[in-house]
Amino acid sequence: MAVTVKIPTQLRAATGGQSELEVEGGTVGEVLDAVFDAHGGLKDRITQDGDLRRFVNVYVSGEDIRFQQGLETSINDGDEVTILPAVAGG
């Protein structure tokens, strides 16, 4: 499944300035692995011990993956995966 991943400003130093990446994957976990394969510097920034760090939010077409199956959340054709900082608001 081809999917667009939106990269927040704070991570673009690790993607050579790119704000969107096109990768393949059937679940959020697979999509993120594909992103890490392309841009190794991203992995340590947003994951720790195989899990997302606690201040990282990931959305599939606007829906927080923690309301779905987390990294196992499946991706449908045309979905957009958005990574955002979780430290705003309040």
Partner: protein
């Protein structure tokens, strides 16, 4: 000159004092770091006492090097001893109410917004914005108007009418988003990337959050430079709760006050209790929830500072409790009937949790408890509807006497 840098709360990386809020190395939140080593406590104390009648008396502890301009200065709200409330609760503890509804736009949000708007001006922004559950919307619209800045205020479209009216009146761009607060917040996080605006609780959040410390400083000053033994505070994002702790700690470290951190009790609505749930379950992260509560100002299902709030409650031997909508209404009434203070639903949550602590016997005799009332009852009038009855009579003596036969005329 004490303000030093922005520093990541997770990994400690330092950044320039600009409009950023996320660590590029670990995605943790940035916080303002100070160097207080050159400050003499006695001199600081004198400076505070000779300072303005609001939050800028604490300028040594706020993130500015020069004089911050502010035409709508909040702060120095009343701290009242609530003996009749203690009596109704059946406790021998000293209960104090910090009534922060007594601010320019009637909530504690004036403190954080005053700091954020002053910083926005200093950094050269012409437009301020926010994601709000209502009180922040009022404050951003008002402070932007006072400072002569444009503003965009984003709220859930289904907010209480009073909060919408009390925002729109200031001439802001009021945007009602079809979604809950967490949807609004996500949208603003994205907008902050593409618009050159100062989102007070996104890209200016490290500065904004500092404003909450002034509630801790005022408490200490108003108690005669003493710390409370316990505080009860509402939790939405967890920022106020953790910054109260930081405020007390800074003054402890500097020797402005002696003792130890108060016990921290957090208050959430049962219909939106991600922090109370994490506390109860022993988690160090909060699982997001979809809010369903009358306490809309606390309806943040994905609290940014939730993990830090849980940690602070644990570290101080306190806790985080939740109360349901009925208990919230009763809390509003209990406070009104015993203190003359009419609070919004968030205050009902806080008083509801205070009552729970009293019922569980957790408030010791003589213990000094400060309860933070963060907003005004006139903003959530629906919560008091049908909680009492009006007596309707004709303009005649016999009509009154028929309605109140027990009141004998003299």
């Amino acid at each position: 000159m004490s303000v030093e840098s922005l520093k990541c709360k997770e990994c400690g990386t330092s950044y320039e004092l600009d409009a950023s809020y996320v660590c590029e190395n670990c995605f943790g939140p940035l916080e303002v770091a100070y160097d207080f080593s050159g400050l003499d406590p006695e001199e600081v104390k004198r400076g505070i006492q000779a300072g303005s009648q609001g939050i800028w008396r604490y300028r040594d502890f706020l993130p500015f090097e020069g004089h911050a301009s502010d035409p709508l200065e909040p702060g120095l709200t009343p701290l009242l001893k609530a003996d009749r409330l203690a009596e109704r609760l059946g406790v021998g503890a000293e209960i104090w109410i910090k009534n922060d509804a007594a601010n320019p736009t009637h909530s504690f949000k004036d403190r954080v917004v005053a700091v954020a708007v002053a910083k926005a001006k200093e950094l050269g922004f012409e437009t301020v914005a926010c994601a709000s559950t209502g009180n922040l919307a009022n404050a951003v619209a008002a402070h932007a108007a006072a400072a002569g800045l444009d503003s965009y205020v984003f709220v859930p479209a289904n907010l209480e009418e009073q909060k919408l009216l009390a925002t729109g009146v200031y001439g802001t761009n009021l945007v009602g988003v079809r979604g809950n607060y967490d949807d609004v917040n996500r949208l603003c996080t994205q907008l902050a990337e593409t618009h050159p605006w100062a989102f007070v609780n996104v890209n200016l959040r490290p500065y904004y959050a500092e404003g909450s410390k002034t509630l801790a400083y005022e408490t200490v000053e108003q108690l005669g430079w003493k710390l409370p033994d316990r505080v009860v505070s509402p939790i939405a994002s967890g920022s106020l709760f953790t910054k109260l702790g930081r405020g007390f700690q800074e003054w402890l470290d500097l020797g402005l006050v002696e003792g130890e951190q108060p016990t921290f009790n957090g208050a959430q609505a049962a219909g939106c209790s991600p922090v109370a749930t994490a506390f109860a379950e022993g988690w160090d992260v909060c699982k997001p929830q979809r809010p369903e509560t009358i306490a809309k100002s606390l309806a943040i299902g994905d609290p940014a500072d939730g993990p830090y709030a849980v940690e602070h409650a644990r570290r101080t031997g306190g806790g985080v409790d939740s109360v349901d909508d009925q208990e919230i209404r009763e809390g509003i009434k209990l406070l009104a009937e015993t203190t003359g203070i009419f609070t919004e639903t968030a205050g009902g949550v806080t008083v509801g949790v205070l009552r729970k602590l009293a019922e569980r016997g957790e408030l010791a005799d003589g213990e000094r408890v400060v309860v933070y009332i963060t907003g005004e009852g006139l903003k959530t009038l629906d919560a008091t509807r049908d909680t009492f009855q009006m007596h309707e009579i004709d303009p005649a003596l016999e009509s009154f006497e028929a309605e109140f036969p027990q009141e004998v005329a003299v």
